[in-house]
């Protein structure tokens, strides 16, 4: 969603400092999904990641409302730092949840911004992978996917093993991802 007047991180940060409530909503819409994803990867726990993400946004909001950022263009970096520090603190000490005064805003925006794309991926990934595998006629390409994504072998090692150039390797992977995306977006997947 695009909002006029909030095109850059610096405009969002400045507007929040000036008391613009709409800018706070834009902040959530723009960064919540990615911050939650990063925390999910770090914690491996969706519920914990949600808690940490909400906490990170509350800290961010309090900070932006009270004091302008030294480098407002690095808004994402600042938020990332808060999220990572919260995760580190959480690893050290669990059970430190608390209720924040902005809970209502968070709930409203996070419900809305819950990733439809992730839902689509979750629902269609299995069928799309089947279509992807069926569409791969070359056994070497299948071996490449197996070696890279399942055995998690190193790219150089796999290239040597399958007698492939790095460029060919990149192409096979790139094409597989493009096909997978097409199958996910296709109705029949």
């Amino acid at each position: 969603m695009s909002h006029t007047g909030y095109e850059t991180p610096a405009l969002i940060a400045t507007a929040i400092y000036q008391g613009d409530a709409q800018a706070e909503t834009v902040l959530f819409e723009r960064y919540y999904k990615s911050t939650l994803y990063i925390l999910e990867r770090k914690t491996g726990d969706h519920q914990l990641a949600q808690d940490l993400c909400q906490e990170a946004f509350c800290i961010m909001l309090e900070r932006l409302r009270s004091q302008p950022l030294a480098d407002p263009d690095k808004l994402a970096g600042f938020l990332h730092n808060i999220a990572v520090n919260l995760h580190i603190a959480d690893v050290r000490k669990s059970g430190r949840r608390k209720t924040w005064p902005d809970q209502e805003l968070i709930d409203r925006v996070t419900d809305k911004s819950h990733s439809q794309y992730q839902t689509l991926l979750r629902d269609k990934a299995a069928a799309a992978v089947r279509l992807l595998i069926d569409s791969m006629d070359n056994p070497r390409d299948r071996q490449l996917l197996h070696g890279f994504y399942i055995e998690e072998k190193d790219k150089d090692e796999l290239c040597a093993e399958l007698a492939l150039s790095q460029r060919h390797f990149d192409k096979v992977l790139f094409r597989a991802k493009q096909r997978f995306k097409e199958f996910v977006l296709e109705k029949k997947a």
Binding site: Y31, H80, A126, H146, F174, K177, V184
Partner: protein
């Protein structure tokens, strides 16, 4: 737009092969670029899907065939065309004697010229015929390509061929029958979407 380099970074990120600083920088980029985040989620979903289907992945692709009754088969457009072609060939065979076998050319050496080599000279050794395979770039949709191979010692044209097509992976191929020894430049040229002339040069050294 996501590039192959981005994809490489994504794979490294998902495989936790980036160091802490690079991972942080990548995550901040993900926060700033929604397309990158979507691609990461896509690749992650593909990876998880492949892990669940790993037994299928190494199973050879099944050859499926639909059995049709002969009248059904003959009614298909391609079958009809094939039947006409077969009849024509049979007639030709009766009227004009043809050689018993199709002529084929064996390849002794593949000369793979990739753009990733940059300006470095590619070294090859082997006998002719050569399969000269030039990198036109992934996604290059030019209608046709021309290739000129020159001997750099005297700038003589060894071979020149136009109206070549690139395959889906951006490779342009031709067979060179003449024996090569020494330094050469292979020049690949085409017209881009705006009609502007584009060229790519590859230097190579071939020894017998």
């Amino acid at each position: 737009m996501i590039t192959e380099h981005d994809d490489d970074q994504i794979d490294r990120y998902l495989n936790r092969q980036l160091d802490a600083a690079a991972a942080d920088a990548f995550e901040i980029r993900m926060m700033e670029e929604p397309d990158l985040l979507e691609r990461v989620q896509l690749v992650e979903a593909m990876k998880q899907g492949l892990q669940k289907s790993q037994s299928t992945l190494l199973t050879p692709a099944p050859v499926t065939a639909k059995v049709m009754r002969f009248p059904q088969w003959i009614r298909q457009p391609l079958s009809m065309a094939a039947s006409v072609l077969l009849a024509t060939l049979l007639m030709r065979n009766i009227l004009v004697p043809t050689p018993a076998t199709v002529e084929s050319t064996g390849i002794n050496t593949v000369l793979l010229l990739e753009n990733s080599r940059g300006t470095a000279t590619a070294e090859f050794s082997g006998a002719p015929p050569y399969l000269l395979q030039l990198d036109a770039g992934l996604g290059n949709t030019a209608n046709s390509f021309a290739v000129t191979l020159r001997d750099t010692t005297n700038n003589a044209v060894v071979t020149q061929l136009g109206d070549l097509q690139a395959d889906a992976d951006g490779w342009v191929r031709l067979i060179v029958s003449e024996a090569l020894t020494g330094d050469y430049v292979a020049e690949l040229s085409w017209a881009d979407a705006e009609g502007a002339a584009q060229t790519r040069s590859f230097t190579l050294n071939v020894s017998p």
